[in-house]
C-alpha cells in the first residue's frame, strides 16, 4: 500500500507557548517537535505496510524547522518525505491547510491511504482530516481507536460519547487514528542512520499550483482578533494529612457551598 501520513510540527507543550504580535503562534520561542499524536499515525502506517511493497511518504506543511518532524518520522521507518514550505502559508487556517495538503497529496499521486492523527497538539481542532476527505472526495474513516486493513478495505472502531461504532470503507480513504491505538515505536539506531539517506522533497505553493491568495494569515476565513493570557492560578491552601485531612477537605467544600 502507498500511504501518505500527514504530520504536523508543533511547539512543545512542555514549553511556554505564546503568540506573536499578529496573533499567530510563536514558533521561535519554544522548541518544536513532531506532534505526539501524529506518531500514532506514523506507527499505524508502518504496521499497515509491514512486509508490503508500498511506500510510506510523510507529508508536512510548516516552516523550515518542520523538517525535524519529517526526520523523526523517517527515523521511525517511513520511506520518504515531502515538506511544503512557503512564506505565503504562514498563519493559514484549517481550510487553507487542508487545501495545501490535498494538493500535495494529489501531486504525490497513487495513494491508497491518507493517514492522519486525531488532532494537532497546538490548534487541537481535529478537523483537518475531515476537510481533507471532503476536498479529495475520499471516504473518511477517522478517530479510530483500532484498525486493520484487508482486501482493499479498512475496518476500524470509532468510540463516540454515546456509542462505539465499527466502520469500514474501501480504499483509497482518509484514515485517522487516536492515541488509543498502540504506542508508537522509538527510532532504533539503525533507523536513525538509515533516515539520513532517505529522500526529502521540498515543494513551494507554485510547485502545487496553489495561488498565494488562497492561503496565509491575510486570506484566512477566520481571524484571531484578540489574545489574552489567563492569569496563572494562585496556589490556595495545602494541608498535610495528619489523620484529619478528609475532614478538612469536607470543611473547605462546605465553606465553598459545594455541600
Amino acid at each position: 500500500m502507498n500511504i501518505v501520513v500527514c504530520v504536523k510540527y508543533v511547539p512543545d507543550a512542555q514549553g511556554d507557548r505564546s503568540f506573536e504580535d499578529d496573533n499567530t503562534t510563536d514558533r521561535e520561542g519554544v522548541d518544536g517537535l513532531l506532534s505526539e499524536l501524529d506518531e500514532y499515525a506514523v506507527e499505524q502506517a508502518l504496521r499497515a505496510n509491514e512486509g508490503g511493497e508500498g511506500e510510506i511518504t510523510v507529508l508536512t506543511i510548516g516552516p523550515d524547522a518542520a523538517a525535524d518532524a519529517l526526520k523523526k518520522a523517517l527515523q521511525m521507518g517511513a520511506d520518504k518525505a515531502v515538506h511544503v514550505v512557503d512564506e505565503a502559508i504562514a498563519g493559514s487556517d484549517a481550510p487553507a491547510t487542508s487545501l495545501v495538503l490535498a494538493e500535495a497529496i494529489k501531486k504525490i499521486g497513487a495513494v491508497d491511504v491518507v493517514m492522519t492523527g486525531v488532532a494537532s497538539t497546538d490548534g487541537v481542532m481535529g478537523v483537518v482530516p475531515a476537510m481533507l476527505a471532503e476536498r479529495l472526495g475520499l471516504p473518511q474513516v477517522t478517530q479510530l481507536s483500532q484498525l486493520s486493513f484487508a482486501d482493499g478495505k479498512v475496518t476500524g472502531r470509532r468510540d463516540g460519547d454515546v456509542a462505539s461504532e465499527t466502520v469500514e470503507a474501501s480504499l483509497p480513504a482518509v484514515v485517522g487514528v487516536t492515541d488509543q491505538t498502540d504506542e508508537a515505536r522509538y527510532p532504533s539506531f539503525k533507523g536513525i542512520m538509515a533516515a539520513k539517506k532517505k529522500p526529502v522533497e521540498t515543494w513551494s505553493l507554485a510547485d502545487l499550483g496553489v495561488d498565494a491568495g488562497q492561503v496565509g494569515l491575510a486570506n484566512a476565513w477566520t481571524t484571531v482578533e484578540n489574545v489574552t493570557k489567563r492569569p496563572p492560578r494562585e496556589q490556595g491552601t495545602v494541608v498535610t494529612d495528619e489523620g484529619d485531612g478528609g475532614a478538612k477537605l469536607a470543611e473547605f467544600l462546605s465553606a465553598q457551598k459545594f455541600v
Binding site: Q143, E165, D241
Partner: protein, 318 residues
C-alpha cells in the same frame, strides 16, 4: 432577521442541555432554527420550542446514521441552502466537529471549534476559545461565508423563551460519494447513572494513585452528585473507560469544582481541567505539580482522605 441554525444534540428525541444553551446563544444572533437529524422529533419539539426555536428542520434519513459524517454534512448543507443562515452553531464533539469541517469547505465558510463563549456586537459574531492547555483565551471572527461555530457545554445558563417550533421537513438524498464509509455495528455506551462528564457541575477524577481501585473516588463523587473522571494513566491501565478520560486527548471539563485524586498534574491532564472554577487535589507527593493549581490541597493518601471526606460530607448533609 436571518435564521441561526442549531444542530440538535439528542438521543432518540431526548434533547441534551447543550442544545438549550446553543438556542439561547442563537437568539442573540438572529432567529433560532433547530436542525433535528434522526427520528422521534415529537419528543424533542417541546424542549426546542421552550428555548426559542421558531422552526425545526427535520431530516429523518437512515443513510445519515448508516454512514460516517459525510451524510450529516450533506444534510446540514441542504438546510443551509434552504435557510441562508446568519450562522450555524453545533455542539462540540468528535462527529459534529467533523461535520462542521466538511460544511465549512462545502460552503466556503470559516470555522471556529470548541468555543467557550459567543459574543454578538451589531451583526458581528465572535467566539472565544481557551488554547495552549488553558493558558490563553483567544477571540476569533469568521471573515468568509457565515460563521460555523462548535460550542462547548456549560458556556452559559440556558434561558427559556417560548416559540413555535414549526416543523419543516427537509428531504436529503445522500450522495453515493458520502456513502463511502459505512457504520456496520453500533454498541451503545453503558450508562453509569452519574452526570455526564462534560456537563457536570462537579467532577471527581482518579489517577494512577488509585492503583486500580476507583471505589473511594466513586463514593466521594456520589456523595457530591459528581461525575467521575480519570487520568490517561488510569485509562491506559484499563481501570476506567476512555470516555471518562480528562485531558488533552480526553474530555475537556470546566466544572464548578474539580477534584483530582492520585493525579500528578501533567500538562496534558491540566489541558482538560485547568479552567475549572475551584480545584482540589489529594496526592501523597507534596511536590506533585497539580498542587500549583489548587484552591485546596491535601498531601496524603487518597485511601485515607477520600473516605473520611465522604463521611464528613454525608454528615454535613444530614
Amino acid at each position: 432577521m436571518a435564521e441561526v441554525l442549531v444542530l440538535v444534540d439528542h438521543t432518540d428525541g431526548t434533547v441534551k442541555k447543550t442544545t438549550a444553551e446553543l438556542l439561547t446563544i442563537a437568539r442573540q444572533i438572529g432567529t433560532p432554527a433547530a436542525v433535528f437529524v434522526g427520528s422521534n422529533v415529537d419528543a424533542a419539539r417541546p424542549r426546542l420550542a421552550q428555548f426559542g426555536a421558531e422552526k425545526v428542520y427535520v431530516i429523518d434519513n437512515a443513510d445519515i446514521d448508516g454512514y460516517l459524517v459525510a451524510p450529516l454534512a450533506e444534510a446540514l448543507a441542504a438546510v443551509v441552502e434552504q435557510a441562508s443562515p446568519a450562522a450555524v452553531l453545533l455542539p462540540s464533539n468528535g462527529t459534529t466537529k467533523e461535520a462542521a469541517a466538511r460544511l465549512a469547505i462545502k460552503t466556503g465558510s470559516g470555522l471556529i471549534t470548541d468555543a467557550t463563549a459567543v459574543q454578538v456586537e451589531g451583526d458581528q459574531v465572535s467566539a472565544s476559545q481557551t488554547v495552549f492547555a488553558g493558558s490563553y483565551t483567544t477571540t476569533c471572527k469568521v471573515t468568509k461565508g457565515f460563521p460555523i461555530i462548535t460550542v462547548k457545554p456549560n458556556v452559559l445558563p440556558p434561558k427559556a423563551s417560548q416559540a413555535g417550533a414549526a416543523v419543516v421537513n427537509v428531504d436529503v438524498a445522500v450522495s453515493d460519494a458520502a456513502k463511502g464509509a459505512k457504520v456496520t455495528d453500533r454498541q451503545p455506551k453503558q450508562k453509569s447513572g452519574r452526570p455526564e462528564l462534560t456537563e457536570a457541575a462537579i467532577v471527581v477524577s482518579g489517577g494512577r494513585g488509585t492503583n486500580g481501585d476507583f471505589s473511594p473516588v466513586e463514593e466521594f463523587a456520589d456523595t457530591l452528585g459528581a461525575a467521575v473522571g480519570a487520568s490517561r494513566a488510569a485509562v491506559d491501565a484499563g481501570w476506567y473507560p476512555h470516555s471518562n478520560q480528562v485531558g488533552q486527548t480526553g474530555k475537556q471539563v470546566s466544572p464548578q469544582l474539580y477534584v483530582a485524586a492520585g493525579i500528578s498534574g501533567a500538562i496534558q491532564h491540566r489541558a482538560g481541567m485547568q479552567t475549572s472554577k475551584t480545584i482540589v487535589a489529594i496526592n501523597k507527593d507534596e511536590e506533585a505539580p497539580i498542587f500549583e493549581l489548587v484552591d485546596f490541597g491535601v498531601v496524603g493518601d487518597l485511601f485515607a482522605v477520600l473516605p473520611q471526606a465522604t463521611e464528613a460530607v454525608k454528615k454535613a448533609k444530614n
